[in-house]
């Protein structure tokens, strides 16, 4: 869909199939997808559609059975070794024995930054996610939303080209989630990185994304791509606009249509 060269794309997924040894299930089947730099792309679909697996294939944490993934013109493996990925999971996965500041600094330590540079960067990140004053707290002293903000700060601390997020707000309450959605957009605009965001919330996908990839299960396939043409920057009010509902409905129908097809196919057997 894009005329851009392969090596200019943020992510190029070509013919990716993933079959798991156990039970021989096909998690992903012939996925082709290209992401442009600066895009915010959500992967949405029912559970078991392989969206988390696809995210891990992009991040070189899971090897595809067939096909290739390139990130910024490099292989996914090389991109991981070059520390091009910032990852955020559904749980914050903070290190209990480290303070907020030291959690954020961990990737920087691994990248060999010196103490002074680390401290400066941590200070910036703490301000970016609005956690100033909590630097020396331990994770268990923070609320779920604050922990997630630490995880995001940690993922962005080393300025990765690609931010991979696996249902990062799935475990949070609705209010916290909507607030963090806005914060994430602000951070995304400030950092200019490309985001791949896995979610099973239709409204979250519409609100956050520039583009949504709808996936269908068994085997995991791309059921459709939807451009989200809501103006940038997004604001909380947009959740009430007619265009927002149109897009949400479009996604819902794509999801439902594919699930219905699936049931029909299975019924025929």
């Amino acid at each position: 869909m894009s005329a851009a060269h392969t090596n200019a794309a943020a992510v190029t997924i070509a013919g990716v199939t993933k079959t798991f040894q156990k039970g021989g299930t096909t998690a992903l089947q012939e996925i082709d997808l290209e992401l442009q730099p600066g895009e915010f792309v959500s992967l949405i679909g029912p559970s078991g559609c392989g969206k988390s697996t696809l995210l891990r294939v992009i991040g070189d944490l899971v090897q595809p059975t067939e096909g290739t993934v390139h990130v910024g013109g490099k292989t996914a493996h090389q991109a991981r070794l070059d520390r091009d990925y910032g990852m955020v999971f559904q749980e914050a996965v903070l290190y209990d024995w480290r303070t907020v500041a030291k959690n954020i600094a961990l990737p920087l330590e691994l990248a060999g930054w010196d103490r002074r540079r680390r401290a400066e960067r941590v200070k910036e990140m703490v301000e970016l996610v609005e956690l100033a004053g909590f630097e020396s707290h331990h994770p268990w002293e923070l609320s779920g939303g604050m922990q997630m903000r630490v995880a995001i700060a940690r993922a962005l601390s080393f300025d990765p080209k690609l931010l991979l997020m696996d249902e990062p707000f799935g475990a949070l309450d609705e209010m916290t989630r909507e607030r963090l959605n806005l914060e994430l957009l602000r951070i995304w605009e400030a950092s200019g990185s490309t985001v791949v965001f896995v979610t099973h919330s239709i409204t979250e996908a519409v609100f956050l994304s520039t583009r949504v990839v709808v996936m269908s299960p068994r085997p995991g396939r791309i059921a459709g791509l939807v451009e989200i043409d809501l103006p940038q920057p997004r604001s909380a009010d947009m959740r009430q606009e007619p265009r927002f509902f149109e897009l949400a409905t479009e996604l819902r129908e794509l999801l439902r249509g594919r699930v219905a097809d699936q049931i029909q196919v299975e019924g025929v057997h």
């Binding site: 991040g59 999971f89 290190y95 024995w97 691994l110 331990h138 994770p139 002293e141």
Partner: protein, 292 residues
């Protein structure tokens, strides 16, 4: 969005009372044990009961005699027994301390090795287990002779025997502790392209600490036992093992001396345990609900 550091503050404010409470509880427990010992003696001697064993001055000397024995000389014109026992404790403590440290380091190293290789684990773990089924008395003479041939001082040789007892719990719990690291935390480290060494040091090792410290507590007391037993076959007279063997032979003449020595040995074990508990408090930082 203020979180509550209240529990910490409360604990800090209340520490003198807390300390007082602890001292009181300790004193109370000691008093109850003392009363139980003396009560048991009194009842069995009054009634003349012979089960499970006859109670007399030989089988159960009065506690007061045992404690006061510490301040009496071993023989005419010698310093009080406690002086002698403290000197011997120092010697045994050196053996046990060396044994504990050696056992902890070797045990941890073996644990790390076996954690990283499934093949090694399968191949070697049975022998690690088997090593613990061999009575320490059967190994002691070889260690003493081998150690002597490479010029190790006597206390270090006994330390090696003690280490034989202390490495095992550390190995087992190190493996378990390293395995306990959160898989998502490891996935995260992969995404940072962290080297195996960094993963071990930054994630697995801190995650293993609660397990390792649980093992170190077992090893701390075992190291004292190991040192005392290690002294026996080597006929070392400078430590508590030598004293115990000696007082064993004179038990019918002077039972309180052996009991007194046992109390000192127990105190040494408790001191070792206490040091590990203290170190754990300083080192392990996890969420309060994770602290076992």
């Amino acid at each position: 969005m203020v979180t509550e550091p209240a529990p910490l503050a409360r604990a800090e404010r209340a520490w003198p009372i807390d300390l007082l409470k602890r001292v009181a509880v300790t004193a109370l427990v000691l008093a109850v044990l003392w009363a139980f010992w003396e009560g048991y003696r009194w009842l069995w001697m009054q009634t003349g009961w012979t089960r499970p064993f006859v109670v007399d001055e030989l089988t159960m000397p009065p506690l007061a005699d045992i404690v006061s024995r510490l301040w009496e000389p071993l023989a005419e014109g010698q310093p009080p027994l406690i002086r002698d026992l403290l000197d011997k404790s120092a010697f045994t403590a050196r053996e046990a301390g060396f044994g504990f440290a050696l056992g902890a380091v070797v045990g941890f190293a073996i644990g790390v090795l076996l954690h990283h290789s499934r093949l090694l684990r399968r191949g070697f773990l049975p022998y690690v287990v088997a090593s613990q089924t061999i009575p320490i008395l059967a190994v002691a003479p070889m260690v003493v002779i081998w150690g002597g041939s490479i010029g190790l001082p006597v206390w270090a040789r006994v330390g090696v025997i003690s280490a034989f007892l202390t490495f095992f719990p550390v190995t087992i719990n190190t493996i378990k502790g390293l395995d306990s690291a959160d898989p998502r935390a490891l996935e995260l480290m992969r995404s940072y392209a962290a080297s195996p060494w960094k993963v071990l040091w930054k994630v697995k090792f801190p995650a293993s600490l609660p397990f390792v410290f649980a093992a170190l507590k077992v090893s701390a007391t075992a190291s004292v036992v190991g040192a005392i037993i290690g002294e026996l076959p080597s006929s070392i007279q400078d430590g508590l093992g030598g004293a115990i063997l000696n007082f064993n032979q004179y038990y019918s003449l002077d039972p309180s001396a052996l009991w007194a020595t046992n109390i000192v040995a127990a105190a040494l074990g408790i001191a070792f345990f206490g040091v590990v508990v203290l170190a754990e408090r300083l080192v392990v930082r996890t969420a309060p609900e994770h602290v076992a």
